[in-house]
């Protein structure tokens, strides 16, 4: 069940990011908050859902794009951010997306607890 929730969050975030280009941060925050609100998970579970759902979505997609292009740009931007290589940069990408989603989902879950 938890796995399905994670995958659903991932897919819905992906769809809305494609539909609303340029609003990735708002999309992830809003979708994750709503999912945290409706799923009725424990707060820690909601946070983990976001961390994994969007973390894997962002990190995985970034790593795949990077793989397809032989790190041609990933390596340069990693240097720009003083990171050792492109894989680390995709990890950071995943972490940033994951944290954003995690806190938004946590907020949703806490809100639900409060409303009960």
């Amino acid at each position: 069940m938890f796995l399905i929730q994670i995958i659903t969050l991932s897919v819905v975030c992906a769809v809305f990011q494609i539909l609303l280009p340029g609003n990735a941060v708002y999309v992830v925050a809003a979708v994750s908050l709503v999912f945290g609100l409706i799923f009725g998970q424990k707060p820690s579970q909601a946070f983990t859902m976001g961390l994994l759902g969007v973390g894997l979505l962002w990190g995985g997609y970034a790593a795949w794009l990077d793989q397809m292009t032989d790190s041609i740009l990933g390596a340069k931007v990693a240097t720009l951010f003083s990171l050792p290589n492109a894989p680390v940069l995709s990890l950071v990408t995943g972490l940033i997306g994951g944290l954003l989603s995690g806190f938004a989902a946590l907020t949703g879950a806490l809100l639900r607890k409060l409303m009960k």
């Binding site: 280009p21 340029g22 990735a24 941060v25 794009l65 032989d70 740009l73 340069k76 720009l80 990408t93």
Partner: protein, 809 residues
């Protein structure tokens, strides 16, 4: 407790949302930038990316069908059914590969960099606005708007660029927009005019009136003339005249006005850098193996990525031309067609004069001119500053032009108002020159095309399949009396003004000279018998003599020999100075390390090849010697110029006891011998220090010099560093640390089919995430050229075609 947790969590979420969408200093908005859906990861491409583009594309705004064929270096060959569509697609295709560069360069020209990067660029922006770059561009565009042909090119080119901008999704925005967090704006024709002003600023803004005025006052007339002569008799001009000029020159009155006689504590704005220059030459059939003329050109500019040039072929009824373009301007700038080829080098000439202005009062509403108070006009420059409040700068315009320097700009010790008269402020139609050159079939067509060319002045080399070769030093040159504009002029009388311009037909030029070739390398256009006064602060003395020496000695020339010659590393400056320098050093006084450097130099053949050590020692020696010689003129609050390398070496050799060589800080009296020796010891030290800093690596010239091709926004990972190449300033292969040949082209004018070879240090794509971003760099470094695919029809087959696209309405 529940509330606190919720509020805390909400606060973290809100803070993250805000932070990930905001730019902090140099750091881009991380969420926008890193997310893989429309952040930078989407800009990464592989080799398949090009081929995956659609073959049929609907394009509103086209009249007919246009085919765009890309070869394996991503050079577009555009075949249009009419000229409107041709320029539309030139704009579209260029923007597709170079949009950020086009916009950034024109923002820079307009003094709008602060909008993007914040207050660090305010001084730069003020400078460009005070130089009147936008004022000049606006005047140019007003003139072009009255000529239907010019308007047709500009509006269609702009429409093509805008069609691309409007088709862009956020994920496809060039990565620099994502990194610097801004968006492209609509492309307007005035931006093309701004780009031409950008080139004028790069090539024709060299003025030394402030420094010369100071130097004359400091040194006195005799020493000044010794250090800054207008001409050395050893010079070999572009067009040797044998004393005969067949025209009646216009009369110039030398008015009775005084040059300014005071020190100017004014920091001059950055100007044309040394290292910006070029080589071009054309050899007649009488000197070639095939009997066909061959034309060669390699403009030297600041080495940058995306590359300054973008290669393409343009075909429509009445035109089939191949060459390089400046992203942002229609037409081919340097190239060839089925009948002719042309290439340019910068024509050095003082085209900026400064006039000292006398205001009536602090309101700056009136200034003194010819005994009366004249009204000024004011232009309020609104410089938007990212993350800061808008900076307003009032620039005062006079009869002469904008008052570039005043108490608010680049002076703190004194108050001097200096107005700037610059050729680039005048309306002009350079666009038409390139329109007609692209279609030229003969020498007459080329001469006609050049009549539209004003600025930046260029040496246009020319060759045609009918056998003609020519060189025209073309530009709009003011008629000047002797030394007019070399020093700051009196701006209170119109007697100081330019008295007109040299008629085009009296500009220095030559057609089919006896010697069988024409050549130029930024030297003097002619000798002192040319009836007009010619002055510039940056004439070249070495490359040109080497080129002429080689061409004089060559026969049965092949294109390959010309390509090799573009990579010639012979250091004529070293050949003329090193034996003398070595003779000044007492070998017995040297330690072992110094002795081995001395021996290395003694055995050196004067070639600045990449993999030898001697040039590192020579150049290190020179880099120490030059400032030691001119210490009187350096590091002072008052700006002075330094004499050029040729003059310096000549003085060291011919006047070794001159007081100039004495270091005033020591009790002893030094001569050339002492400072040459001192510089040698310091030079060896610098090489040793370099070795210590580089794991005791051998100081091979390419490594010691370390050429880097930098990204326009100075983003280090998008630059290519340590490009191992020989050459240097004053060498035919003019690759120095930051400057060098920005496009090498060789064209054989064969009646049976014109053939071209070319290469530039970069790649067609401006995207650092594309395999075509810097794919030509290694070929360029190795001194090789690509054979250019000059197509005669869109159906022509060739094995190196990547993609054929058809665009239609």
């Amino acid at each position: 407790m529940k509330y606190i947790k919720l509020l805390l969590s909400l606060a973290v979420t809100a803070a993250l949302t805000f932070a990930l969408n905001s730019k902090f200093g140099q750091v881009p908005p991380l969420g926008k930038f890193l997310n893989p859906f429309d952040g930078f990861w989407q800009n990464a491409q592989n080799k398949d990316h090009v081929q995956s583009a659609p073959t049929d594309v609907k394009m509103e705004g086209l009249k007919g069908n246009v085919q765009v064929i890309y070869d394996d270096r991503l050079v577009p060959h555009i075949f249009a059914e009419n000229e409107e569509d041709l320029y539309f697609m030139q704009g579209y295709v260029t923007a597709q590969h170079r949009l950020w560069q086009m916009e950034f360069q024109t923002h820079a020209a307009a003094g709008r960099v602060s909008e993007i990067v914040g207050k660090a660029a305010v001084d730069f922006d003020r400078g460009n606005r005070r130089k009147g770059m936008m004022y000049g561009a606006e005047r140019a565009i007003r003139q072009m708007d009255t000529i239907p042909l010019a308007k047709m090119m500009l509006t269609n080119y702009a429409a093509g660029v805008n069609a691309y901008i409007n088709s862009l999704s956020i994920k496809d925005l060039p990565v620099e927009y994502k990194l610097l967090d801004y968006r492209p704006e609509e492309w307007q024709p005035v931006k093309t005019a701004l780009l031409l002003k950008y080139m004028a600023n790069t090539l024709a803004s060299g003025d030394d009136a402030i420094e010369n005025t100071n130097a004359l006052k400091l040194l006195g007339r005799e020493t000044f003339d010794l250090l800054f002569p207008d001409y050395h008799p050893e010079q070999v001009p572009i067009v040797p005249t044998d004393g005969k000029w067949k025209f009646e020159p216009l009369k110039i009155n030398t008015p009775n006005v005084q040059f300014s006689d005071k020190f100017y504590h004014v920091t001059p704005m950055p100007k044309t850098e040394p290292g910006v220059g070029s080589n071009n030459w054309a050899v007649a059939g009488s000197k070639t193996a095939s009997g066909n003329p061959i034309l060669c050109d390699d403009p030297h500019l600041s080495l940058s990525l995306p590359s300054i040039w973008y290669e393409m072929q343009l075909v429509a009824p009445g035109v089939n031309v191949y060459g390089v373009t400046l992203p942002g301007a229609p037409n081919i700038i340097i190239g060839f067609n089925n009948d002719v080829a042309w290439g340019v080098t910068n024509a050095q000439r003082d085209l900026v004069d400064l006039y000292a202005i006398q205001y009536k009062d602090d309101s700056r509403n009136e200034y003194f001119l010819d005994g009366k108070w004249e009204k000024t006009t004011k232009r309020i420059e609104e410089i938007k500053v990212r993350g800061d409040k808008t900076y307003y700068d009032t620039v005062v315009y006079t009869h002469w032009g904008p008052v570039a320097y005043d108490e608010t700009f680049h002076q703190d010790k004194q108050h001097s108002d200096l107005a700037m008269r610059w050729i680039a402020h005048d309306p002009s139609l350079e666009l038409l020159t390139f329109y007609y050159l692209n279609r030229a079939k003969s020498y007459q067509d080329y001469v006609h095309a050049l009549t539209y060319y004003d600025c930046p002045a260029q040496n246009f080399a020319f060759a045609a399949t009918n056998g003609d070769i020519a060189m025209h030093i073309q530009g709009k040159y003011p008629l000047k009396w002797r030394e007019q504009g070399k020093f700051i002029l009196d701006g209170t009388t119109t007697a100081s003004a330019w008295q007109g311009y040299i008629p085009d037909e009296q500009n220095v030029h030559v057609l089919n000279p006896q010697r069988g070739y024409v050549s130029s390398a930024n030297q003097h256009p002619s000798d002192t018998l040319y009836p007009y006064y010619v002055h510039a602060n940056n004439f070249e003395y070495y490359r040109n003599r080497r080129i002429n020496h080689l061409l004089d000695s060559m026969k049965d020339i092949t294109p390959q020999m010309m390509m090799d010659m573009q990579n010639d590393n012979f250091n004529l400056k070293a050949a003329e100075s090193l034996p003398y320098f070595l003779a000044q050093v007492d070998e017995n006084s040297l330690n072992a390390q110094q002795k081995s450097a001395y021996q290395l130099l003694k055995k050196w053949d004067f070639y600045n090849h990449a993999d030898v050590e001697a040039p590192s020692y020579y150049e290190a020696w020179w880099d120490k010697l030059f400032p030691l010689v001119w210490d009187e003129l350096l590091g002072k609050e008052i700006p002075y110029n330094r004499p050029d390398a040729f003059t310096t070496i000549k003085l060291l050799k011919t006047k070794p006891q001159h007081p100039m060589f004495d270091n005033k800080n020591t009790p002893d009296v030094e001569s050339a011998k002492e400072i040459i020796t001192k510089a040698f010891l310091q030079g060896v030290d610098s090489v040793n220090n370099w070795k210590k800093a580089n794991d005791n690596k051998m100081p091979l010239w390419a490594d010691y010099k370390s050429t880097s091709v930098q990204h326009l926004a100075r983003l280090a990972p998008f630059s290519v560093n340590n490009v191992r190449n020989g050459g240097n300033h004053n060498i035919v292969n003019a690759t120095s640390e930051r400057h060098g040949p920005s496009w090498r082209m060789v064209v054989e004018l064969d009646k049976k089919g014109v053939k071209g070879w070319g290469v530039y240090p970069g790649g067609q794509s401006g995207n650092p995430g594309s395999p075509y971003y810097a794919d030509m760099m290694d070929t360029w470094r190795d001194g090789k050229h690509y054979e250019l695919l000059f197509m005669q029809s869109p159906t022509q087959t060739a094995k190196n075609i990547l993609l054929r696209q058809t665009f239609s309405n």
